[in-house]
């Protein structure tokens, strides 16, 4: 097909208007992710294009277009610092999309613009993939389609859109089938990922103030669904990482933690199975309950029992974990680890060290020592606050013996320090604690303000044991959550007055919030998380119960119904007369009688009657009926005609094939 019909024609008005609208809708999800200059460029190009359409401006010249292109690329480079990478690439793509609109003259250009638009929508999904944006993209997709249809149609804009929507709607069943069954491949090659630099979350080093920052954020961290009952809230310690290095001020992840070394542990007791959908964190570690094992191939258990992925989590990730809460962890401790977990700065905090010596002398067993510390925290006037007073250079001493007020990071840090000073290997565990139960969906939602730090210490033969000093000071934090643990003068989420989480006491608002959250979780789990192993799991669950023949039969039935719906064989019934006449012809042909070209039914049957005089009556009867129905306007009744044909067939001697000597009149 060499035809280029119509591609160089100008663009119809209906299509152009749809294109202008579609462009705005396509660009919208990118607004937060592309430099402002491109937004300006978009507005200018749209305005110009409208002026061209109103015959008030001319198309830009070649030099001007070239200049714009170079200028835009330069602008992107200045804004993003590079022309590679996902953000810069997306910005360039959108810029090309915007500039093409200005340059567009013929239908071929319009097609390029439309296809670019579809591609932009797909790239937009890499930045915004939540339910609302996904629903929103139906708008640009349908307007782009309307523009595509408008290129061919001279009808009104409304008709194009109507047809576009109809097409989209009809395409949905097939799309769902493809979506379910198309095998999800592993990434073919690695591409620049969307960067999540601005994300809040746990980091690999912790000064006490960082935790307080996190507690102001209601951002979602992950949602977890359990197979079976959800454990009690005070059992929900989600380990993310351990902080083993102390420099007198900050706790940070030790270098040792990055070395690959499989930890020793024994499964014991009942296992917990749950799946987690986590939001992008920009960090490689995954949250899990102790001691967790994941199903993902690129996730491994590190030597401090955290789960770590090979690459940072840049997109929402679904993973399944099985945890053994009662497992024994490292009955024998590697010397390196022991040395690391006894590490302390050479000097500083003399009071705390002194206290540790006293405790060590008094309590031989580490368990007893830890118990005594918790008792001390509970007994003495320690309090839980997100606004602790500023601490001096000996921060542990100041906290333990002066201010006596702080939050989880203070307590965990101080306790670890004292344990180490008493000769017990210990470390700070950072992660999340608790989570909000969604009663509709039966899952837990963990947010940044659930961030928590606790302590684990080691003793020979028993292994690691977790202990939470915060629980001794403020049991409400563990039993109920941060909001309940805070004193009356410290408002929960003080920096975000609009957060629906602040209005949990308004029942209808709260139930609406929870339902919306549930919907989003379903979206993440069943749509966004429908990848690789999840697909296998779902398909297995669906089809393992069914026999394969039943499945194939069902699919056949479905296709059959579809074929019926498309071809509508019942509509052919109207021309059954002709079909019966054809059968009549075939019947006579087997007896050597062929209808000549141009020979009418009447003439043919007369000739047939002459050659088959014995059946003249039956032949004439059929022909009469046929003519009466077809030409004389009698009510058409195929049954009657069929009956006549049957009579004739029964009277004629049966023959399989035509006899050789035909009775043509030639």
């Amino acid at each position: 097909m060499t035809s280029t019909s119509g591609l160089s024609l100008p663009i119809p008005r209906a299509s152009l208007l749809w294109l202008l609208l579609a462009q705005g809708l396509v660009v919208m999800p990118f607004l937060q992710h592309i430099p402002g200059t491109i937004i300006g460029l978009w507005l200018a190009c749209t305005l110009w294009r409208v002026q061209i359409f109103r015959m008030r401006a001319r198309h830009p010249g070649a030099w001007f277009k070239g200049g714009l292109l170079v200028g835009t690329a330069g602008g992107v480079y200045l804004a993003r610092g590079s022309l590679v990478g996902l953000e810069a690439g997306a910005a360039l793509l959108v810029a090309a999309f915007v500039l093409k609109m200005l340059e567009m003259q013929t239908r071929r250009d319009a097609l390029v613009l439309i296809f670019l638009g579809f591609f932009c929508v797909v790239v937009g999904y890499l930045f915004e993939d939540n339910l609302l944006w996904a629903a929103f993209t139906l708008l640009p997709v349908s307007t782009l389609l309307a523009a595509l249809i408008g290129l061919q149609s001279s009808n009104s804009q409304g008709d194009s859109l109507k047809l576009a929507l109809k097409l989209l709607l009809q395409a949905v069943p097939l799309m769902l089938l493809l979506f379910l069954f198309f095998p999800r491949l592993e990434p073919l090659w690695s591409l620049p990922q969307p960067s999540n630099k601005g994300l809040t979350g746990l980091s690999d080093s912790m000064a006490p103030g960082d935790m307080a920052e996190l507690s102001k954020s209601a951002a979602l961290v992950f949602r977890a669904s359990f197979e079976g009952p959800i454990p009690a809230r005070n059992q929900l310690y989600w380990r993310s990482l351990t902080l083993e290095q102390f420099d007198g001020r900050r706790w940070s992840q030790s270098l040792r933690a990055q070395t690959v070394q499989v930890p020793q542990w024994e499964k014991r007791g009942d296992a917990l199975s749950y799946s987690i959908v986590m939001e992008p964190s920009g960090r490689p570690w995954l949250s899990s309950l102790d001691v967790g094992e994941s199903n993902l191939a690129d996730v491994r258990q590190m030597n401090d029992f955290r789960l770590q992925r090979r690459r940072p989590v840049e997109q929402s990730l679904l993973y399944n974990v099985t945890s053994w809460p009662d497992a024994t962890r490292e009955a024998q401790l590697n010397e390196n680890i022991q040395r690391q977990d006894l590490q302390l700065p050479a000097k500083g905090n003399p009071q705390a060290r002194q206290w540790a010596n006293d405790l060590a002398r008094r309590y031989r067993k580490p368990d007893a020592l830890a118990e005594a510390m918790l008792d001390y925290f509970a007994r003495e006037p320690y309090h839980y606050t997100l606004k602790p007073p500023t601490l001096g250079p000996d921060s542990i001493d100041d906290f333990l013996f002066e201010s006596r007020g702080g939050f989880c990071a203070h307590y965990a840090g101080a306790m670890t320090f004292v344990l180490r000073a008493a000769g017990i290997p210990a470390r700070v565990v950072a992660g999340y604690q608790g989570g909000e139960l969604n009663p509709d969906g039966q899952y837990l939602t963990v947010r940044q303000f659930d961030a928590h730090a606790w302590v684990e210490y080691w003793q020979p033969g028993v292994g690691w044991r977790s202990v939470d000093p915060t629980a001794a000071v403020a049991p409400q934090r563990i039993e109920q959550g941060l909001e309940q643990a805070l004193a009356a003068d410290e408002a929960f989420l003080a920096d975000s007055p609009m957060s629906a989480l602040r209005y949990r006491n308004v029942p209808w608002l709260n139930s609406m919030r929870l339902s919306w959250d549930n919907l989003n979780y379903g979206w993440q789990r069943w749509v966004l998380g429908y990848q690789g192993q999840e697909q296998l799991r779902v398909l297995n669950r669906w089809f393992s119960g069914l026999e394969t023949p039943a499945f194939i039969g069902g699919l056949g039935l479905l296709l059959g119904v579809f074929a019926l719906w498309v071809f509508k064989p019942w509509q052919r019934e109207s021309d059954s007369q002709l079909r019966l006449f054809n059968a009549f012809e075939r019947l006579l042909a087997r007896h050597g009688l062929r209808r000549l070209p141009g020979e009418g039914a009447e003439e043919f049957s007369r000739r047939a009657a002459l050659l088959l005089p014995g059946h003249a009556e039956a032949i004439a009867a059929f022909t009469r009926e046929f003519q009466a129905q077809r030409y004389a306007g009698h009510t058409s009744s195929p049954a009657e005609l069929r009956r006549r044909l049957k009579q004739l067939r029964r009277r004629l001697p049966w023959r399989l094939s035509a006899i050789k000597d035909t009775h043509d009149s030639r």
Binding site: M1, T2, S3, T4, S5, G6, L7, L111, V112, F115, F118, F119, V121, V122, V123, Y125, L126, D129, A134, T137, V141, L145, L148, I149, L151, Q152, S153, S154, N155, L163, L167, L168, Q170, A171, V172, P173, L174, M175, L178, F179, F182, R184, L185, P187, L188, W189, S190, L191, Q193, Q315, V527, L528, G529, Y530, Q531, G532, V566
Partner: protein, 318 residues
């Protein structure tokens, strides 16, 4: 290679879509193939799929599959846009060689709307129109008339890429459209029958046909005129070549004769054609004699048509 395959293709087409003056487009007559735009669309879909795979993005998968499903459904929609369309050939007015034939085509919707239907003789020059479901649309296609006789229109191409531009349905139809092409009229001396008076009994009809009896005046020389009648005196005065014109005073009717002319058959027919047209215009009765054809002396549109038809079809095997 393509040239080699052409006869096979033509034969196959003739079997598959036999000529008929009224054709309803159905699945036997409609072909469908992706267009080049369809190729680009496939490429875009492939790129989108690559994004979906490499970023493991379900929404990208979803949109890719949505557009793919739509393209597949587009096969049905594009097919349906052409199917059910009824085309029938109208009557074409005869023209002279060198003019263009106007071939009328009637299109009926047959129940549902057909949009952006392109019609034409080849893929390069197509005209586009919409055919509403319940209406009848007439469209005129032109063909250059190059040769005398019957002009058989080539197969008509009917195509549409509506609605998605990514698929093209088309059909090649032979609507048995024919047009009669008269010879090209070429001016010249009137070729009159000599010696025979076809209707000697008709008397007293004033004629102005050229003859030898009565001097009529001078007229400019045309090739083929008798040189003996050249007006040399006028030529010497610098008035150009003039011929002394005589009128036949015998009073019989004009009879244009093929044998009165010399030269190529086509030239002779052209000359006769010219005089048929001129005499008909003057509403002057005449007869036309061709080998194997003799028309009575007559005038009027019907007579003119009979004569022109005879000229057009002279020597043409029907």
């Amino acid at each position: 290679m393509i040239e080699l395959l052409k006869p096979f293709w033509q034969r196959w087409l003739a079997r598959r879509i036999p000529p008929a003056s009224r054709v309803e487009l159905d699945h036997r007559r409609i072909f469908i193939m992706p267009t080049r735009t369809g190729g680009s669309f496939a490429l875009v879909l492939f790129l989108m799929l690559l994004v979906a795979i490499n970023y493991q993005n379900s929404l990208a998968y979803g949109l890719t599959f949505l557009l793919l499903s739509m393209a597949i459904l587009g096969i049905l929609h594009t097919y349906r846009n052409l199917s059910g369309l009824v085309l029938s050939a109208g009557v074409a007015r005869p023209v002279f060689v060198g003019e263009t034939v106007q071939l009328t085509l009637r299109l009926e919707g047959g129940g549902h709307d057909h949009q952006a239907i392109s019609l034409g003789w080849d893929t390069e020059q197509l005209q586009q129109l919409n055919v509403p479901g319940e209406e009848r649309v007439e469209v005129e296609l032109t063909l250059p008339a190059q040769n005398r006789g019957w002009l058989h229109a080539p197969r008509l191409r009917v195509e549409s890429v509506f609605p998605l531009s990514i698929l093209r349905t088309w059909s090649w139809l032979d609507l048995e459209q024919t047009a009669l092409i008269y010879p090209r009229p070429v001016a010249g001396a009137m070729p009159l029958l000599k010696g025979v008076q076809p209707h000697a009994e008709d008397q007293g009809l004033a004629t102005q046909g050229p003859g030898v009896d009565d001097y009529q005046g001078l007229r400019t020389y045309q090739p083929g005129d008798n040189r003996r009648r050249l007006h040399w005196k006028a030529y010497s005065r610098g008035q150009g070549l003039l011929v002394k014109d005589f009128t036949d005073l015998s009073g019989h009717d004009l009879c244009l004769d093929f044998m009165a002319l010399g030269g190529d058959i086509e030239e002779r027919l052209s000359r006769l054609c010219y005089w048929v047209v001129v005499l008909s215009q003057r509403q002057q009765p005449f007869a036309l004699r061709l080998p194997g054809f003799l028309s009575p002396v007559d005038s009027g549109a019907l007579h003119r048509e009979t004569c022109l038809r005879a000229l057009a079809l002279y020597g043409v095997r029907s």
